[in-house]
Amino acid sequence: MEEPQRIGLTKEANDYLDEILDSLNSEVEEKGLIKFDLYRLAVALGVKNGNKPSSLSNNTDNAFRVSELDTDKALFFAVKATNIQDNEEPIYRVVERLAEQGVRDFYKAYKSHSERMPWDKLLAE
């Protein structure tokens, strides 16, 4: 089981993420959020909610270097500990699938809340 060096999102999810980030960053003067931030959050929320995302139907863009995305391997350890991966499946592929589903969930929530992110609902215990 060899771990991939790069992971990413499908083109569709990537476009969603861009739209959400544009909207969020337009509200503040501070240094804006970057894709990594929401990508990691999407994975973390997937772990929290016990998501078991199915395989991706389309190829991803492999835009993120795993060593940069998960510098202390927190995502890796957390996903591994949940045991949601299929046998022999690399952990980062599960991370990728969790991110894909998480970004899509973000977008759905964003659209159903008049193009605002309902963080209170998404982060609620």
Partner: protein, 659 residues
């Protein structure tokens, strides 16, 4: 003096001819005229004032131009004639006073007062009075100066508070009016005339002294002082002109600001709300920024809480392993010991005798049993893995980002509710003040402040020059005395003239002081008597008058009460008016416009009970917010002789109807 009837024709909101009968009964002497704001209460007061004196006043005693006195609906219909007739009696004689204005034939659209022709006629007991004597006759009945204290605007009663402020310009102005009413100016004019004569006499004395070698030095000094005095008097004159000019500008702006007071207050409120709104928006932005910063690492906090249960499970598993390890170790120890006993110790360690087979057999059986027990071996690699996984998961540490995000979001929600309320208020106010040039109001306020500052400076400069003038006159008097006493100069005409005039000037100055003192005493005594009936506070023992005729309330220890309420101020002002009326000796109807605005029910009741006794005829121009048409009038119902309502016909027309 008692008014019988007022006939108004085209005066301000009163279009066409309207007749108003005044109560004549001795005890039912109160006339009530109810009207909402902007309906024409003050215009009614002005109709009487204009009928008597040809002057209608706006705030700050500013004269209303003739073109504004004629009803605008009438002028739109081409009727440019306006008149007031007052039928009254005084000391047993009947008067019929008619005053009118009409547009000059050669003027199309009148703008200035001179575009109108004014006519005045007076009959006493049916006999016409010739033109030149009419004003004199009116002044015999009610002098124009006195009218201020009979025909007055209750909303301006608070102006009397200025009498308590030393060096207040408005206070000075009111003091002059009061002294006019009380007759002080007659003595002041006489003293001023004497001062002019004294100045001339000193010049003559100085010229005579110039001819004397021994007195020449004095004469030169005196000449210097005279030149300086002239310069100081010129300065005072110029400063006074400046002061009047500035005061006029300030009054004009005050009028404007008073008329737009409600709009200004709304504008001020709007500015306050805008600041509040900015604060809310800033706080929302700040919280949003905080949330953004927290969102960057929130993923770790989510992971941290998500893996906590997994970590617990792993730790539990590890604990199980640790326990198994301990048990396995204990079992192995026991087996080793038994084996040793069976294999090595054939003799007893204590007595050295051989242990019989029968005793060793049970040990062998026990060993067999123990060796068959499970759990003797432990999977150390799993334990290592568990340790590693636990360490990895415990390495996921965060700083409570999620809770902090939720707190900030809740804060934003709360602020947004407040923000929405503020925005709604702003919208409402903007709708209300739509159409008013609020920026112009703000500019005027700034101008008012600037002129106010200049006015204060001019007053200070004037005070400085007046002090110097007084000092100069003292020096002149001293030199004059030295010259008069000089050997050989005694008894000369110029010296005698200076001496006599100086004595006369002193007599008049002293006379003014004594008259003022007496008048103040009278005003204080009458006002105190009125005050005691009007106030609801029984510990107040009376009023104390100051140099400016300002009245202070005294407590039971005769100490001045420093702080007083708006209601108390109004009571004091009314007491002063009563004191002045009684001191002036004039008997005339009192017409009060909106006199009860700032009073609580108890004071209102006291005043309503007292007013009928203030004069033979009392006219109250009130709105229903001041006097409740039924409830409040009960306290003096027996004193009401007539009641009228001002009915609105249109925005520019009102009609007075008897109820």
């Amino acid at each position: 003096m008692k008014i019988h009837k007022l006939i108004i024709n085209n005066f301000m909101p009163y279009k066409g001819k309207q007749e108003i009968e005044f109560p004549q009964h001795e005890t039912q002497n109160v006339m009530l005229l109810f009207g909402d704001n902007m309906r024409g209460k003050t215009s009614f007061l002005n109709a009487i004032r204009w009928g008597f004196y040809g002057v209608a006043l706006a705030r700050h005693l500013r004269e209303i131009p003739r073109s504004h006195l004629i009803n605008s609906e009438a002028t739109d219909e081409g009727d440019w004639a306006m008149s007031i007739s007052i039928l009254f009696e005084h000391e047993g004689r009947n008067y019929e006073l008619n005053r009118s204005i009409e547009k000059r034939d050669n003027v199309t659209q009148p703008k200035n007062n001179s575009d109108f022709l004014e006519a005045i006629g007076l009959r006493i007991n049916g006999t016409p009075v010739i033109g030149d004597s009419i004003n004199n006759e009116i002044n015999q009945v009610m002098p124009k100066e006195v009218s201020r204290f009979f025909l007055f605007d209750g909303e301006l009663l608070q102006e009397y508070e200025n009498l308590l402020i030393e060096e207040s310009d408005q206070g000075k102005k009111i003091k002059e009016h009061i002294e006019s009413v009380l007759g002080v100016p007659a003595l002041i004019h006489a003293r001023d005339e004497l001062q002019v004569l004294l100045k001339d006499a000193r010049s003559m004395q100085r010229r005579d002294a110039q001819k004397n070698d021994e007195l020449r030095k004095y004469a030169q000094d005196q000449k210097g002082h005279e030149v300086k005095l002239k310069s100081l008097e010129d300065d005072i004159g110029e400063l006074d002109r400046q002061r009047l000019g500035l005061q006029e500008k300030v009054d004009e702006i005050d009028d404007f600001l008073k008329n737009t007071e409600a709009v200004q207050n709304k504008k001020i409120e709007l500015t306050r709300l805008a600041t509040e709104k900015k604060g809310f928006e800033f706080n929302i932005k700040k919280s949003n920024n905080t949330i953004h910063v927290l969102l960057k690492t929130a993923w770790k906090n989510v992971l941290e809480s998500s893996v906590q249960s997994i970590t617990q499970t792993l730790k539990k598993e590890r604990k199980g392993y640790q326990k198994s390890m301990e048990e396995a170790s204990a079992l192995q120890g026991e087996i080793t010991n038994l084996r040793k006993s069976i294999d090595e110790n054939k003799e007893c360690n204590t007595c050295g005798q051989e242990i019989p087979e029968s005793k060793r057999q049970p040990l062998r059986e026990k060993l067999e049993l123990l060796e068959k027990q499970p759990g003797r071996s432990v999977d150390y690699s799993r334990l290592t893995e568990l340790n590693k996984n636990i360490d990895n998961l415990e390495g996921i540490r965060a700083e409570g980002e999620v809770n902090r995000i939720i707190t900030n979001l809740e804060e934003i929600t709360k602020i947004k509710v407040k923000l929405m309320s503020v925005e709604n208020q702003c919208d409402d106010i903007e709708e209300e003040i739509k159409g008013f040039d609020t920026d112009e109001i703000m500019r005027k306020r700034e101008k008012r402040e600037r002129y106010g500052g200049q006015l204060a400076k001019t007053s200070l400069d004037m005070k400085d020059r007046e002090d110097k003038k007084e000092e100069n006159l003292k020096k002149q008097q001293k030199i004059s005395q030295l010259m008069a006493k000089h050997k050989g100069s005694e008894g000369t005409l110029s010296n005698l003239r200076v001496e006599r005039l100086q004595q006369l000037e002193t007599v008049f100055s002293e006379g003014i002081n004594q008259l003022r003192l007496k008048l103040k005493g009278d005003v204080e005594s009458y006002a105190t008597s009125a005050f005691k009936k009007l106030t609801t506070e029984k510990t107040y023992t009376g009023l104390s008058i100051n140099q400016n005729y300002g009245l202070s309330i005294l407590d039971e220890n005769k100490k001045v009460i420093d702080e007083r309420s708006a209601g108390a101020e109004q009571i004091v002002a009314l007491s002063l008016i009563d004191g002045l009326n009684k001191t002036s000796g004039t008997k005339a109807p009192i017409v009060m416009d909106t006199p009860l605005g700032r009073l609580d029910p108890k004071h209102r009741k006291n005043i309503l009970q007292y007013l009928p006794d203030m004069s033979e005829q009392v006219v109250l121009l009130v709105h229903e917010g001041e006097i409740h048409a039924k409830r409040d009038t009960e306290v003096f119902a027996s004193r009401i002789g007539a009641r009228y309502d001002i009915k609105r016909i249109s925005a520019t027309q009102s009609r007075i109807e008897r109820v």
